[in-house]
Structure formats: C-alpha cells, structure tokens
Subunit: 189 residues, 2 copies
C-alpha cells in the first residue's frame, strides 16, 4: 500500500555566500537541502532591502505619478513614487520621505494597506504599499544625483484603467493599484 503524497517539504537552509555585490543588491548562493528527497544544492537569491510604493491621493482624488528613465528596461516607465527603505526605517516613514524627495508632495493619514513579495522564488524582500491622503505639493524635490523625474497627477480612476490597458507596466505599481481598489471597496462597503 502506498502512503498518500505528503505536501511539499520545507527545505533546510544552509550556508550562504556572496557571489557579487552592487550598490543596490547582493547576489547570493544559498545552500538548501531536502533530506526527505536526498537532494541538496546551491540556489540563487537576490538580497535587497524592503521597498515601499506610495499611493498619494490629492484632495480632488488625483494620484501622484512619476515618469522616469529606467535602466532595467532601457526605457521610460510611468510609476507611483517609491524606493528602498533605509535600514531600521519604518515603511510608512520611508513612504513619506520618498514621496517628498521624489515629488515634493506631502499629505496626511499615511497608512500601510498591503505588502507583497516582488519575487518569492529568487528575491528575499517585500514591497510595502502605503496610502497617503490630502497630498499637496509643499516641498522642494530632493533627487538623487542620477534621478530625473517628471511628476504628474491623473484622476485615480483613469490610473486604474491604465493598470489594465498596458500604459502602466511596473508589476509593483500594479500591485499597489490592486490593493487600492480593495481598500476603497472595503471603505465603501
């Protein structure tokens, strides 16, 4: 008689080594073993800090957007503000900081409405989604040396359409918009 198949087993984490390190990430090889299947090996893990994305809503329900040249795709990308959370920094504080630095906007009632894993298979971090209301342009921008950002706003319902029509393609921005729809629906219900 055969035993029914058990669920997939947790692999045991072993030693890791840094394969390469750049300013924004560490490429690691991490050993894992699965005793039940007598298998082990080294697996690639991209180690990065947690990230945050900011849904900043103006008083007239427009969403603050940023458009910038992105080296990964060698092209421009329309996104919401966001960035890396500093070591020890609170996700909400990071959101407020990134929003101000990238766009000059400041708002109220900043709150976390969701968190996702950019890529559980090969990347160790999370990306938090922070909603800021009553956002208005109050500060000067403070870009990094290589940042050059076009700041715009658009009606939030239009942006939600762009999420499904292919005008916005950044997966983490799409996740923020997915969470925003759920949040708004919950508030309305």
């Amino acid at each position: 008689m055969s035993t029914p198949p058990a669920g997939p087993a947790r692999w045991d984490k072993g030693a890791g080594r840094v394969i390469a390190a750049t300013r924004i990430l560490e490429l690691r090889g991490v050993r894992y073993s699965n005793p039940g299947r007598a298998r082990d090996g080294e697996f690639t893990v991209i180690a990065v800090p947690d990230w945050v994305n900011v849904l900043a809503l103006t008083p007239d329900l427009r969403l603050v957007l940023v458009r910038q040249f992105r080296f990964g795709i060698d092209d421009f990308s329309l996104e919401i503000p966001g960035g890396m959370i500093d070591s020890g920094e609170d996700p909400i504080a990071a959101a407020v900081r990134e929003l101000r630095e990238e766009t000059g906007f400041e708002g109220r009632n900043a709150r976390l409405i969701g968190s996702v894993h950019p890529n559980p298979a090969i990347q160790n971090n999370r990306c938090h989604i922070v909603l800021v209301e009553h956002a208005e342009r109050r500060a000067a921008t403070d870009w990094d040396d290589d940042e050059e950002i076009e700041v715009t706003t658009a009606p939030v319902d239009e942006v939600l359409e762009w999420a499904r029509s292919g005008r916005i393609t950044h997966s983490l921005v799409l996740c923020a918009l997915l969470y925003f729809e759920g949040y708004r629906r919950g508030k309305a219900g």
Copy 2:
C-alpha cells in the same frame, strides 16, 4: 525668463559587462550616460529570460494553484503555474507547457491577456499572462529535479479575495489576477 523644464532625458546605453552569472540570471553592469546632465555611470541590471504565468480555469470556474517552497523568501508561497520561457519559445506555448509540467492540467483557448515588467528599474524582462480555459487534469506532472509542487484548485472569486487579503503575496501572480478581473469585466460589459 527661465525655460520650462524639459521632461526627463533618455540615457544613452554604453557597454555592459557580466558581473556574475548563475543558472537562472546574469548580473550585469551597464554603462549609461546622460550628456545633457554631463553624468555617466555603471548601473546594475538583472538579465533574465521573459517569464510566463498561467491563469488556468476549470470548467466549473476554479483556478489551478500551485504551492511550493521558495528559496528567495525561505518559505512556502501560493501561486499560479508559470516559469521561464525557453529561448525562441512563444509565450502561449510556454504557458501551456508549464501548466502541463507543473500540474498535469491541459485546457483550451490559451490566449495572452497582458504583459508586465517585473521590475523596470533593475530587471530587463517581461512576464506574460496567459489565460487557459476548460482546464482539466489530463497528463502526468513532469517536475524539474528540485521541484515539489502541491497542486490545488479554488473558486476564482475566492482567489481574487486572497489577492487582496495577503494570502497570495507573489507580485506577478497578483498582476495576473488584476488582468483577469479586467478581462472578465470586459467580456461581461
């Protein structure tokens, strides 16, 4: 009189070098220059093949799900089937192949309903979203050596709730569900 601010400039791509290569990705340093701002530098780019994720709907509108241990987050993750597109392979063919290999399910009317960029800032690839209907378990699974997958199905409306409640956290799976909602709405409208 000051000139109105121009939009952000396109950076000029220069030479690239491979910093490190693993089985699944290449870490590259790519030189970019921005003549208008007299800046240049080397930027990190993760080079990976395009990926595909599959929304496989059964005749009774359940979605095929896979649960597996993921080395990136050192934990289990509930996802839809998917994987890397082979060199020269069509995204739809890759979707049908990954669905069969990972779950044993086969269906009809496979079609592309969207494409996203996993991370425009640092990663060069796209992830395509393929919808398959009338999916039924017809084949044996064919897992890679280190794959061990729990295959389940759940009502698609329940899965859409899980996308916003934090039970599903994989950003690319969430993007597929976002596109599915838009697709279904368009069919109904």
